[in-house]
């Protein structure tokens, strides 16, 4: 049964500012879901707090609207408890690289099979336009009292250094390109990160549609660009090439896939080494009670499983 993007949408009114780049992201994700024909019940969108974070309610798939900065821990818990689910973590640049930067780095070390989509508008939209961690030094967007005093963090370089195995950048207004990247990210086995450049029409009067129209170019247009690691030896080389590219920011900004390493085991695969039946019987699918509502473990089981804590009575002292 072919699914349509609309099947993945609720009928809520979308309350972003007219012209906001978030609309493009919403469209692209719905399309990607449809083209991958994901089961809505087995799909979970976890979103942070921000304009970006509002996206969860517009999808007719399971949605979790967590705390500011925390999409990644929640998404990780969901995925590890039920690896059958497709889990997407969405947040703003403030959410994922400001308050949530610690989790962002940690996910890179785990390669849990989830997709992280970052709405990069260089501002804190929902709190009325302060500088976000991706706004360059010296830039003064609309709501700032003075030019930005902090440097920007480079999301692509940070993702590479953290260990993400799929790293890409896309543009919110290019829904088709974005959709394709999202599909690839979801299909990728491991932690995927997409930095989505997202114009904020209300607060960001610097990184506008007009600006991006001129600045953006596609990595894939270079026939020699190959971001995929094909053997472990290639890893550093591909990572370095992506790292260098990630510093192109200014009049020319690349979008596309920077780096893919399909060779690293996912966290779920690693868990199987500790719990051989993990994938067949993950936490969410284990019976924990008998039909009568009693624990599945009997006293005998307990004594066996925790035998290292049992002392048997021997003969009498003296």
């Amino acid at each position: 049964m072919a699914r349509k993007p609309e099947d993945y949408r609720t009928d809520l009114w979308v309350d972003w500012c007219p012209g906001c780049g978030n609309f493009g992201i919403l469209t692209a994700i719905s399309q990607a879901f449809a083209e991958l024909s994901l089961e809505p019940e087995k799909t979970v969108v976890v979103a942070g707090i921000g304009c970006s974070g509002k996206i969860w309610q517009y999808f007719r798939v399971n949605g979790v609207h967590v705390l500011h900065g925390r999409p990644i821990p929640f998404a990780t818990g969901i995925k590890l408890a039920n690896p059958e689910l497709t889990v997407i973590a969405i947040g703003g640049d403030g959410d994922l690289l400001g308050i949530g930067a610690g989790h962002f780095v940690a996910l890179g070390r785990r390669n849990v099979d989830i997709t992280v989509i970052m709405h990069n508008n260089q501002v804190y939209g929902l709190t009325k336009g302060q500088a976000s961690p991706t706004l360059p030094y010296g830039v003064k967007t609309k709501a700032l009292p003075a030019p930005n005093i902090q440097d920007m963090v480079n999301p692509i370089a940070l993702a590479l250094a953290s260990g993400y195995t799929f790293v890409a950048r896309a543009y919110a207004m290019d829904t088709k390109g974005l959709k394709e990247v999202i599909k690839k990210a979801i299909e990728h086995k491991g932690s995927a990160f997409i930095d989505v450049l997202q114009p904020c029409v209300t607060y960001n009067d610097v990184y506008t549609v007009q600006f991006y129209r001129k600045a953006l170019y596609k990595l894939e247009d270079d026939p020699n660009w190959d971001p995929v690691v094909k053997s472990p030896e290639e890893e550093i080389e591909k990572k370095t090439q992506a790292f260098i590219k990630s510093y192109e920011w200014g009049s020319r900004i690349p979008i596309g896939i920077f780096y893919v390493n399909p060779l690293k085991p996912t966290y779920e695969e690693r868990l199987r080494e500790r719990i051989p039946t993990y994938l067949e019987k993950p936490p969410a699918k284990q019976e924990i009670a008998t039909n009568g509502g009693r624990p599945v473990l009997t006293i005998k089981d307990i004594v066996e499983v925790f035998s290292d804590r049992i002392v048997y009575r021997r003969k009498r002292i003296n």
Binding site: E41, L67, G77, H103, I275, K281, E287
Partner: protein, 653 residues
Amino acid sequence: MVEESTLSEAYIMIGGPQGSGLETSAQVLTVIFASHGYGVIANREYHSNIIGRHSYVAMTVNSVKTPRYFNYPFHTAAFMDAESVFVHYEDVGENSILVYDKGLDNVNIDNVVSIRSDTKERLLREYHAQGIDPTVRGITNYLRSSKGVQVVGLDYKSILSILREKFSVPLALARRYVSSIIVGAVVGSFGIASEDVIREGFKYRFRGREKIVESNTYIASLVAKEVMSQVKTFKLQEGRAIDDFSFVVSGNDVVAIGKVVGGVRFQSYYPITPAQDESFYLEGHMRITTSRGDLGGIVVFQTEDEIAAIGAALGAALTGTRAATATSGPGFDLMAENISWAYEAEVPVVITLYQRGGPSTGMPTRGSQEDLFAALFSGHGTTPRIVLASGDHEEAFYDAIKAQNLADKYQLPVIHLLDKFLANAIVTLQPPDLSNVMIERGKMITSYNKPEPYKRFSLSDGPISEFAPFGVKNAISWYTGLEHNEYGLVSEDPETRMKMVEKRISKFFLADKEIPEEGERAVLLPKDINISDVELLMVGWGSVKGVAVEAAKVLREQGIKAAYLHIRYFAPFPARYVSSLVSKVRKSGGLIVDVEHNEFGQAAHIIEMNTGIVIDKFILKYTGRPIYLNELVNAAKKIMKEKIDKVVLKYGA
């Protein structure tokens, strides 16, 4: 020499520097006693340090039951080093046996670098006042001559040198055997020197490493004999506390086991003392297999911080997995915002909170009961949650399961409170009785077939709505920390807001209605006491239970009609039951005394907040050390007799 007295209960102390095998000694001793039928509790005191600072273990061994308290003076004390002698000189009394290393006789306290200046100054003040020479010899002389202690000085070095001859253990490794000297010293004090008996302990500890078992057993037995030859030993009555087998577990272990039995299949954690051992123990048991097959496994997930730990647990809970996390004060603070989220989003999750000395990093390896306020009120907004506190290892096991049931039933966060005293104390524990243990998942559903779309926060059937985990066909659900409608989708409508606020809080009030007060949320001990008779009602919680119950017994034996009211739930608080008990006691002229491990009387404040009852007598301890039986008995008598309002306890180095 002749054995002097026959005891049903003995108090043992062993001391030495951290990392030098003291834990081995304690474990071996516990197993020796347990495997011969004794009930044991052993508590280790240690600094926030890996190697070198002073540590000691207090043990109580009982021939008929598992004791849950410590007492002094100790019958026997065996020390590895000079520091132990310096700091514990007051822990032994007449006829106590003290075993130490004669080779340290000349050590002056000034030269013991691991004693911090404030402690040193305090001790020197004390020595000075009593005319004691500040050397090991000076202390032991004083104990021997002025205190009637049976001091046994052994030359540890020459004992260890036997190892080279007999077991070709190189001198460099021989130091590791000091732990068996300690074992020998202790068992010897009780007239035990049989290699057969002693071997049990080392076999457990060094499973499968025959040679090590033998050499240790040999040394221990040798020392035991030597001690027996020098002192009047104590005789323990026959051990009848344990029949076939016993668990020998810490509080951490028992909660871990309870969680697995209770169906927890996802535990996230960030390491922190004294919570971490629970997660480590689980990590070593991620795979749950028995002879009847593979029973699945528990994912134990070490996160980057406690925010991620609770976040991941909440995520896991949304899939229908029983999920928990375990932490201590500092980590718990970091979970506050997510607790508030869990309340708003009605997600069942259990947080096991091990209290330690605070505030802040405080005394991270010491005990305390001072996170009650935080457990009840952390997280902004009105976010009542269920808070239950375990008083001993038995309660901890069942509570670990109960906490999950309550979380599922009321779709609320549940805080399971423990403290370091309980967490780190190793005890013998009767195998649990599972006959009354149920797994109650409340309104969780695993399929959904109604024609209308699923409403996760439906208002149509009381305050608790059906919970379909992610993945259930036809039941898409949405969760948010924002105010929301029945579908879980955002709303700022004032009427919806009111209904949802009332829905959530009604669940808490429902729990208050449904969970029995008497016997469950608060327990009056001993069970058969007549409340109108009680002259002195101690009120306490957590690990105060063990010592308070025993103190009440001792007091009754001494003619004071004492009882102990053990608070197990602080939310929903058993207000009616506690009020009625307190007023009965007060009516008949009895006193109510709050006993707890903090300087503020946190529990007393919570009682007042919930009942309006003002408790004005306190026995408090906040040194980070457990309350000992004798000091509690004495304090209670003082309050009874001298009409004072507060006694602050301070026993223990």
